[in-house]
Amino acid sequence: MLFAFKNITYSFGFAQIRQMTVSATLNSGQVLIIRGPSGAGKSTLLRVLARLQPCADGEVFLQGRNWSQIPGTVWRSKVHYLAQKPVLFDGTVADNLVRPFEIRVNSKKKFDPHLAKKKMQELLLADDLWEQDARTLSGGEAARLALIRALLTDPEIIMLDEPTAALDERSRDAFYAVLSRWLAGRDKAAILISHNNEYGHLSCISFLDLAASRGGE
């Protein structure tokens, strides 16, 4: 068991605040797909698991270690959350890809430009984007760049909030291929929020339906 969350109890919503309790486990190579109508607290759950916001109760385990034993910065570098709206930093595409490696917690990781360029190709991003200002990318390009940036830092668990929402069919297939290759044979797992029922080449899929488990409180 690579990753598990037990009785995570969190509140969400703005006009009407609701509370929810959920549990799930993930093995290496597994993909957990979180489904549910909008407003069901899917993004909030991922934010809680990434320790971007606190929860009322519950425990999360990564490689057998309780999350309370791991500092927030280390945790977030291992359990990475990618928001639905891609956020790019000032600078070129290359600057954006290098930026996470300048953070102290990642100092042992090495940025590999060849791997980055290879990933760009796989996700159908042209080579000449490398020196382009990242703020001038289209929505779909920005989403793919953010995905590549997240994959390059090689977290243990990658949590993607509707990663294919801004992608056309071709790049969506490319994305699933890249993700399944990233997972294959390694001690990694992914959690996806997804609205469509196409999961391309992904294997080892399990589902967590949030609307169904509503009413923890």
């Binding site: 927030g72 910065t73 280390v74 990475h80 709206k85 996470p100 953070i103 990642n106």
Partner: protein
């Protein structure tokens, strides 16, 4: 060059009311709605400054070290509350943090100026200490107010980028380092600008006062140079301290952004 102050008599002082009548006339002619605050402001100016005049005469006469310390600390307290109130992006900010920054920067720089540079006899002479510390405070107050406002405003408008850095494992400091720099820059810029144009665009208030008071302009200039540099130093220290003490308040104990940063301003 033996000159002295030309005193303003009560009658002459009352004559200055004409000036406020001009401003009031413009306000009512254009219906600016500023007549009431203008009158109230005028009354307060007369009353506050008259009282301060008497108080300073008394304080200068007894010239007691403890009393001076209490007064300067009180000035710091008022300035710290004002600086937080003047930052529209900032809510629920503990004025104790701005007080600490103001107090430390003012006492550090003020002591250097009075003890090492001006060295009056005794060194805590109220006639020197109170105006010098007052000038430092007034400027530092504006500086930290700008810094604090910029820190909160920038963090809020760049919250998505800051949070993205956090998702890669950045510490709060790594995530806001850029905004912290911007905030300190914002606080120091007016002071640095004034270093550039001083004497060319306007004569600073202190120098004007000394010259009107009959001092040799060359002497007044020397004082003014000291004052400008001490203000620059105090503003730099004050902004640095305040931003250093404040940026962690934008994060929770786990190093994630506080919810108020992620929401729009109310």
């Amino acid at each position: 060059m033996e000159t002295s102050t030309i005193p303003i008599s009560n009658f002459q002082l009352a004559f200055s009311i004409i000036l406020i009548l001009i401003a009031g006339g413009i306000s009512s002619f254009l219906k600016l709605g500023l007549l009431k605050p203008l009158i109230w402001g005028t009354v307060r100016t007369f009353v506050q400054l008259t009282l301060v005049g008497y108080a300073l005469t008394y304080i200068f006469k007894i010239n007691n070290f403890l009393l001076i310390t209490v007064i300067v600390t009180l000035m710091c307290y008022i300035a710290s509350r004002t600086s937080v109130k003047r930052a529209p992006n900032v809510h629920d900010y503990p004025s104790v943090l701005s007080f600490v920054s103001l107090w430390a920067s003012t006492f550090l720089v003020g002591s250097i100026v009075t003890v090492l540079i001006i060295s009056p006899e005794p060194w805590y002479s109220a006639r020197i200490v109170i105006p010098i510390f007052g000038m430092i405070l007034g400027n530092t107050m504006n500086g930290i107010s700008l810094s604090l406002d910029r820190l909160y405003g920038e963090t809020r408008s760049r919250s998505a980028e800051i949070e993205t850095l956090l998702t890669f494992g950045a510490t709060p400091w790594e995530a806001v380092r850029f905004n912290v720099r911007e905030a300190i820059r914002a606080g120091m810029t007016p002071t640095i600008n004034s270093l550039m144009v001083v004497g060319l665009v306007s004569l600073p208030g202190m120098m004007t006062g000394q010259i009107l008071g009959g001092a040799d302009p060359r002497e007044a200039v020397r004082y003014q140079i000291v004052v400008m540099l001490m203000i620059a130093a105090a503003v730099a220290i004050g902004c640095l301290m305040l931003v250093g003490l404040s940026y962690k308040r934008l994060f929770n104990s786990d190093g994630a952004l506080q919810p108020f940063v992620l929401k729009s301003r109310k």
